[in-house]
Symmetry: C2
Subunit: 321 residues, 2 copies
């Protein structure tokens, strides 16, 4: 299904132009009409153009009438321009059918838009890292992208880590209550939201974090030691955000290093187990989303059902047009 895809750069400057070009070609090869924003390859310091340039790029994407507005890459830069974004214009574009897609730093944009307007955007790929991957785009990512653009996708599913592993995790935490039994449960009609954990937490206490009650919060991060992940989760906990959620779903936490002989059992697993002992929300892991090739697309801000049957987890959002 041929779609109009608008590519722009709201965050860091494109460093790997070859990957960017491969990504554009791949999208064209899939039959899409690809429109590249005039400032997509702009550079100012470490940014894809100065703040005014990137702000204008966001607004051009909103005015493009494209089916999909896709970021070239993440990095850093959106928090700088949050106060100046015309959220009504972006929400209007969403209402008229433009799906905004991105990851990482893009979380700041998604959270702010959701907070200001309730408009739904998509957590998903970027042009360079994903469509432009040297080894070729990931099949699952592309299938999910196709689901999104066709409007036919109604959800996604994944396999939860083994119960045995989960049990081992819980046993690490002395005195902590056990995690709620997995077995089978549904959480219906909850707002799915989240994204990059560090970026999301950097919005706590600002007008750019949506106040979601009874939600399903998903998080991912890259290059953060589990103690930093825990510090951020503790921030969300102490700010009262986690107590409001019905589920917390961990995506992929990649590219960090434990310190052997020092961490001594402190790990992402123990962080997750500790969190489960602190919240009533269901805590799940293994969601294929994050700074990894195999990533599903997720409608941020959409009413969603989380269904778990044994080791099978599903996020179901119905048609999102």
């Amino acid at each position: 299904m041929k779609k109009h895809i608008y590519i722009y750069s709201p965050s860091s400057a494109v460093r790997d132009k070859a990957a960017f070009k491969r990504g554009v070609k791949r999208l064209q090869g899939l039959g899409h009409e690809v429109e590249v924003d005039e400032a997509a390859l702009a550079k100012y310091q470490r940014f894809a153009g100065d703040d005014e340039t990137r702000l204008a790029a966001v607004h051009r994407a909103a005015a493009s009438g494209a089916d999909v507005a896709l970021i070239s890459r993440g990095g850093y830069g959106l928090t700088r321009i949050l106060p100046a974004i015309n959220y009504k214009a972006v929400a209007k574009a969403v209402h008229n059918g433009t799906k905004f897609v991105g990851v990482s730093d893009f979380t700041a944009f998604q959270m702010a838009l959701l907070a200001k307007t309730g408009a739904v955007t998509w957590a998903g790929p970027a042009v360079g890292e994903d469509f432009g991957s040297k080894t070729g785009p990931d099949d699952i990512m592309e299938a999910c992208f196709d689901d999104m653009i066709s409007g036919q996708g109604e959800g996604t599913g994944w396999t939860l880590p083994k119960p045995a592993a989960q049990f081992a995790i819980n046993s690490i935490v002395g005195g902590a209550q056990s995690a709620p039994a997995r077995s089978t449960f549904n959480i219906n009609n909850a707002v799915l939201w989240g994204g990059n954990l560090a970026v999301l937490a950097s919005l706590i206490g600002t007008p750019y974090l949506p106040a979601i009650k009874g939600g399903i919060l998903f998080v991912e991060d890259v290059g953060e030691h589990p103690y930093r992940v825990e510090r951020i989760l503790t921030h969300l906990l102490h700010a009262g955000v986690l107590a409001q959620q019905k589920a917390i779903v961990f995506g992929q936490f990649s590219n960090y290093k434990l310190v052997p002989g020092y961490d001594r059992g402190f790990s992402l697993s123990s962080v997750v187990a500790r969190l489960q002992s602190q919240v009533k929300a269901r805590v799940l892991t293994g969601l294929p989303f994050g700074h990894v090739a195999t990533k599903v697309l997720l409608p941020v801000g959409a009413k969603t059902t989380l269904a778990v049957e044994g080791r099978n987890a599903f996020l179901l959002w119905g048609h999102q047009h």
Copy 2:
């Protein structure tokens, strides 16, 4: 002047026991009575004992009747136990003359105590890194420590970076307004507060960040690229914290690496200059405090005067008993 110094470990496990022992000996050598908490060298995962152990250590320090309660080291761990600390007991100890001193992760404790009780603590050294330094404790740090314990110190001073450098910094930021002229000014009777930037920001929107109006906020950090420093400052900005301050004083930001050919002029200096363009507060740099050997001691929560005369800056807090 012989003092009773109580050493305890509220955060990470002591890794460098030799440094710890050197620090204890150094303090004894200065004539002090040093009492080491029973759990000072405890280990649980990466922590100096599990949460209950460290919590009990904090409360033993508060009950010790010591003149100074000094942390063995920073690291990570205090945010985990913030909800369980008996702040009234700590404030009572402060009232009765115990000076709590620390750095880095200790910022969480200092902020929470200030928020809950208004009690003054001290940003300063730790046993291992500072008194136990392999090359010997820093002279200025020791002189400031002596000022604090004698109650004779009434302030501290430092030399601001060259105006020429400051001008160059400002010129990087296109369109930004110039920083307020340095020359000579006083900010009187303002609450001095702050510490580690990342730790402080991880308290935004929680009950553990004090709501300081008209304050002098000082910040430092280690191992954070300037883009992360900026993201945290932007968090404080968007949360409305910076607009409430009369001055923002940068301590030392150490042990990070720029990315040549990518950052292209984005640097800590440009971050500072951008910040100055966004706030009315005076923004100063060069405060000798942070993850560095030469650190002054600062009374967190105390009414303070910031006096600037040309390139000379002074923080004056009078006697703090």
